[in-house]
C-alpha cells in the first residue's frame, strides 16, 4: 500500500493492533515505532496521536523519540529506500566516487525523495560489512564492492 491510499481509520486500526501485540508500556515505545515505520512506511501524525492515546504519553514525547532515531521516519518515504554507507572504511576504498555517481543519477540530496516517489536516498552509518566496501543497501538488498559505473545498472533492477 502506498502512502496516499491508506485511510486514517486504517492507520488507527493498524496501530492499535501493533500496540496490542507488543505491549503498551513506555519500554515498548521504540519497538512500536519501528513496527509502525515498517508497516506504513513512516509514522504519520495520526499514528502518533493513536500511540499517545494507547500509551498514555503526550504527543510530543512520542514525536521526540520518533525523530531521534535514524531508522524511524516521520516523513513519507519513497517506494524504494537507498541507504549508502558513508563511513570511513567505505570512503577510503572509493566510496566518494560511488556516492557522487548515485547523487547525480537520482538528482536528489540525502534525506530527499524523488518527485515520482520512487526513491528515497539516505546515508546510513556503518552496516558492519566493511570488508566489501563500498556498500549500498536498497530496501533489504546489500550490494558490496560497488563501482561508480555499476550504479545505474543496480538502480535499473528496481521498478
Amino acid at each position: 500500500m502506498t502512502v496516499d491510499t491508506i485511510t486514517e481509520q486504517e492507520t488507527i486500526d493498524g496501530v492499535r493492533q501493533i500496540v496490542e501485540k507488543i505491549g503498551s508500556t513506555r519500554a515498548n515505545l521504540i519497538p512500536i515505532l519501528q513496527a509502525v515505520t515498517n508497516n506504513f512506511g513512516y509514522i504519520s501524525e495520526t499514528a502518533i496521536k493513536e500511540i499517545s492515546t494507547r500509551l498514555n504519553l503526550p504527543n510530543n514525547e512520542i514525536f521526540s523519540v520518533a525523530t531521534f532515531y535514524r531508522m524511524l521516519s516521520t516523513q513519507p518515504r519513497g517506494k524504494h529506500i537507498i541507504q549508502f554507507c558513508e563511513s570511513a572504511p567505505c570512503h577510503v576504498v572509493g566510496g566518494r566516487e560511488v556516492w557522487l555517481a548515485l547523487k547525480s543519477a537520482l538528482n536528489i540530496e540525502p534525506g530527499e525523495t524523488t518527485p515520482d516517489k520512487k526513491w528515497t536516498l539516505l546515508t546510513t552509518s556503518c552496516l558492519g560489512v566493511c570488508g566489501i566496501g563500498p556498500v549500498l543497501m536498497i530496501d533489504t538488498d546489500i550490494y558490496g564492492n560497488v563501482k561508480p559505473e555499476q550504479v545505474k545498472t543496480i538502480l535499473s533492477r528496481y521498478d
Binding site: 508500556t25 513506555r26 519500554a27 515498548n28 515505545l29 521504540i30 519497538p31 515505532l33 519501528q34 521526540s64 523519540v65 531521534f68 532515531y69 535514524r70 531508522m71 524511524l72 554507507c85 558513508e86 563511513s87 570511513a88 572504511p89 567505505c90 570512503h91 577510503v92 576504498v93 566518494r96 566516487e97 557522487l100 555517481a101 547525480s104 543519477a105 546510513t124 552509518s125 556503518c126 552496516l127 558492519g128 560489512v129 566493511c130 570488508g131 566489501i132 566496501g133 533489504t140 563501482k147 561508480p148 559505473e149
Partner: protein, 594 residues
C-alpha cells in the same frame, strides 16, 4: 578419572556412518589394543567435523587438532603407527588448510590466537548441540556446581580481563561493584550496538557463536545476582538478532535459561532489544535510556550503572567480546588468560582490518603485538603495493597514527599515550592516496551527525570544527584556522558530557599533530597533496595518450567531456564535478589529476 594422552573424535554424522564410520571405529579400536595404546588413546563419537559429503569418514585427533579425512580403514594401522607411535602427521589424509573460510574471516594466520573467534565458521550457530560439542556450557556447569559468585568474580579479577568495548575498565571490578550494590533487583546488559564504522567483530561473534556470549552472560548474572538480562543489538544487524533469538530459545529448551538453571535455584532470563539507528546508543547510559523507551541521550556519571542503571536499579553492562571471553577463562583458568598479552592488558583482542590493506577482515591477536606486525604480516601489507600512510584505530573517536609509530605494541595504555584509543577494535589502514585533512573532515561529519545534541561543547563544538574543516577542503582555509581548530579540540574534549564528545576531536588532533604539512598545503598553497579534495584538483585529458576512444565521455555522469572519435577529448571544467569516473575508466592513462 582416567587420563588419556590423546583423544580421537570420530564423526558419526549420518553421512559418515553411511560411509563406514562405525567400521572405522572398530578397526581403530582393534589396532590400538594391538599396539598397547588402548589405555592412552580415547576414542569418542562426535557430530560432523567438516562437510561429511566431501570429507567423510573423518576423524580429529586432539590435542594436536589434526583433521584426517576420507580415511579408508585398511590404512588405519599405518595411521596409528605414524601418528601415535612415531608422532608424525600422515600427510596423505591430513585435511588441507583452507586458505580462506570466507571474505571476512580467513583461516588463522601465524601470529593469531583465536579465543573469541575460535568457533566461528567451525560450528553451526543455529544448532546448540554443536556448541555443546565444543565444550559449550561446561563453564556454566563448573560455576553452578563448584563456585560461589565471589569465586567467579575473583577468577575474572585474577585474569585481569578488561572491558572490550573500548574503555578497558577491569571487568572483575565492575562485577564486584554490581554485586555489592544494594537491592534485590539487578539487571545485566550486553552492549551489542557495535556502531563504530569499520568494526564488525561483534557482529560475526553474534552471528557465528552466539552461545559464547549467552553463556558468558549467564555466568555474569550469577556473579552479580541478576535475574533478567538484555542484549541491545543494533537494528542494522538483522541476522545477528535472529540468530540470537534462536539461540536463546534453544538454551531455554535445555534448561540453561529461565527458572532453575541446570536444576539449581539460580534463575535468569534473556531478551533481545533492537536499536533504531543511533550511534550514540552504544554509550552505556544512552543505551539504557533507549531500552527504557526514551531518546538515546547520555547522562552524567556518577551514579554509575552498577549503582543506578536500568530503571534505576544496579546494572552491569559489558560488551559482546567481554562476555565471550568469560567461559574460556572459567574453563582454562585465569593463569592461562593472563599468560597472554602485556603487563596491563591481558588476553587477546579481535580487530577488524579495513581500508587499503590486502587481507581485510577479522583477526584476533594477543596484546603486545605491534601495529607493523598487524598491518604487514597478519594483514598482508598495503593493497596494490602502495605506500602506507596512516592507520586509524578505535573508530571515529580514535586517532590516526603515522608510519613512525608502527612499532608501537598494541595495548590500552600505549595507544592512549600515542593520541589514539583501542576502541572496539576497528583499524582502518590508509595508503599514500589518502588526504588526511579530508579524513579528519570525514570523521567529524559522522560525529556531528551522531551527536545527540544534549550538551553544547559537543553539539556546537563539532559543528564549528566541521565548518572549518569543510572550508579548508574547499580551498577557503585561512590564517588562524589551525589555531582555532586546536583550541576547539581542547575545549570540546574537556567539557563534553560523554565519550562521544570527549573523543570527537581525536581524529582532528592526531592529524594536526602528525600531518601538519597537509593542513598547511591546503590553507596556504591551496593544494591537496594527495589529490583528493575536489575543489583543489582538476582533471585534464592529456593530448598524447588520448586515443579518442570515447569511453570517458560515455561514462561521465554530467556529460562534461566532448570530442570526436579518434580525436583528443576535452573536459569542460565548468561542468566537471570531479567525481573521478573518467580517470578510473580510461584505459590509456590519459587523464591527469593535478
Amino acid at each position: 578419572m582416567a587420563f588419556y594422552r590423546s583423544t580421537v573424535l570420530v564423526s558419526v554424522d549420518p553421512i559418515c556412518v553411511e560411509k563406514g564410520a562405525y567400521e572405522l571405529i572398530d578397526v581403530l579400536n582393534d589396532e590400538l589394543i594391538k599396539q598397547g595404546l588402548i589405555d592412552e588413546v580415547q576414542i569418542l563419537e562426535t557430530t560432523r567435523l567438516g562437510d561429511p559429503q566431501k570429507l567423510g569418514p573423518d576423524l580429529m585427533i586432539y590435542p594436536e587438532g589434526t583433521h584426517y579425512t576420507n580415511i579408508k580403514y585398511v590404512d588405519v594401522p599405518r595411521l596409528v603407527e605414524e601418528h601415535f607411535i612415531k608422532g608424525r602427521v600422515l600427510q596423505q589424509y591430513a585435511a588441507k588448510m583452507i586458505d580462506s573460510m570466507d571474505e571476512e574471516l580467513r583461516a588463522p594466520r601465524e601470529k593469531e590466537i583465536r579465543v573469541v573467534l575460535r568457533n566461528i565458521g567451525v560450528i553451526d550457530p543455529r544448532n546448540i548441540e554443536d556448541y555443546f560439542a565444543y565444550d559449550g556450557y561446561m563453564a556454566l556447569g563448573k560455576v553452578l556446581t563448584e563456585m560461589t559468585p565471589e569465586d567467579v568474580i575473583q577468577e575474572i579479577l585474577d585474569a585481569k580481563l578488561r572491558g572490550r568495548g573500548g574503555a578497558g575498565f577491569p571487568t572483575g571490578l565492575k562485577w564486584k561493584f554490581a554485586r555489592q550494590a544494594e537491592g534485590n533487583i539487578k539487571y545485566l546488559i550486553c552492549n551489542a550496538d557495535e556502531g563504530d564504522p569499520g568494526a564488525f567483530m561483534n557482529r560475526r561473534v553474534l552471528e557465528g557463536d552466539p552461545h559464547s556470549v549467552i553463556e558468558g552472560m549467564i555466568i555474569a548474572a550469577f556473579a552479580i545476582g541478576a535475574k533478567q538480562g538484555y542484549v541491545y543489538c543494533r537494528a542494522e544487524y538483522p541476522i545477528a538478532v535472529s540468530t540470537l533469538n534462536l539461540a536463546i530459545k534453544q538454551a531455554r529448551s535445555f534448561g540453561l535459561l529461565g527458572k532453575n538453571i541446570m536444576g539449581t535455584d539460580f534463575s535468569f532470563d534473556l531478551e533481545v532489544r533492537m536499536g533504531a539507528g543511533a550511534f550514540v546508543c552504544g554509550e552505556e547510559t544512552a543505551l539504557m535510556a533507549s531500552i527504557e523507551g526514551n531518546r538515546g541521550e547520555p547522562r552524567t556519571r556518577p551514579p554509575f550503572p552498577a549503582q543506578k542503571g536500568l530503571w534505576g536499579k544496579p546494572t552491569n553492562i559489558n560488551n559482546v567480546e567481554t562476555y565471550a571471553n568469560v567461559p574460556q577463562i572459567i574453563l582454562k583458568g585465569s593463569e592461562w588468560f593472563s599468560s597472554m598479552g602485556t603487563e596491563k592488558s591481558k588476553g587477546t583482542k579481535t580487530f577488524a582490518l579495513a581500508g587499503d590493506v590486502k587481507n581485510t577482515g577479522l583477526i584476533e591477536v594477543p596484546f603486545g603485538i605491534t601495529l607493523r606486525e598487524i598491518i604487514f604480516e597478519v594483514g598482508g601489507g598495503i593493497k596494490n603495493d602502495k605506500k602506507f600512510k596512516a592507520v586509524q584505530t578505535g573508530g571515529p573517536m580514535g586517532g590516526c597514527l603515522p608510519e613512525s609509530l608502527l612499532d608501537l605494541p598494541v595495548d590500552y595504555e600505549t595507544l592512549g599515550a600515542a593520541g589514539s584509543i583501542m576502541g572496539s577494535g576497528g583499524m582502518i589502514v590508509m595508503d599514500e592516496d589518502t588526504c588526511m585533512v579530508d579524513i579528519a573532515r570525514f570523521f567529524m561529519e559522522f560525529t556531528q551527525d551522531e551527536s545527540c545534541g544534549k550538551c553544547v561543547p559537543c553539539r556546537v563544538g563539532t559543528h564549528r570544527l566541521l565548518e572549518i574543516l569543510e572550508s579548508i577542503c574547499a580551498g577557503e582555509g585561512k590564517e588562524g584556522d589551525i589555531e582555532e581548530l586546536q583550541e576547539l579540540c581542547v575545549q570540546i574534549k574537556n567539557n563534553s558530557l560523554c565519550g562521544l564528545g570527549k573523543g570527537a576531536p581525536n581524529p582532528v588532533e592526531s592529524t594536526l599533530k602528525h600531518f601538519m604539512d597537509e593542513y598547511q598545503a591546503h590553507i596556504y598553497e591551496k593544494s591537496c597533496p594527495a589529490k583528493v579534495c575536489r575543489s583543489l584538483i582538476t582533471f585534464e585529458i592529456m593530448d598524447g595518450p588520448c586515443t579518442g576512444c570515447t569511453v570517458c565521455a560515455r561514462n561521465c555522469p554530467v556529460n562534461a567531456i566532448s570530442g570526436e572519435r579518434k580525436q583528443t577529448h576535452v573536459i569542460d571544467q565548468d561542468i566537471c564535478i570531479k567525481c573521478g569516473i573518467c580517470h578510473q575508466v580510461c584505459q590509456f592513462d590519459a587523464i591527469k589529476v593535478s
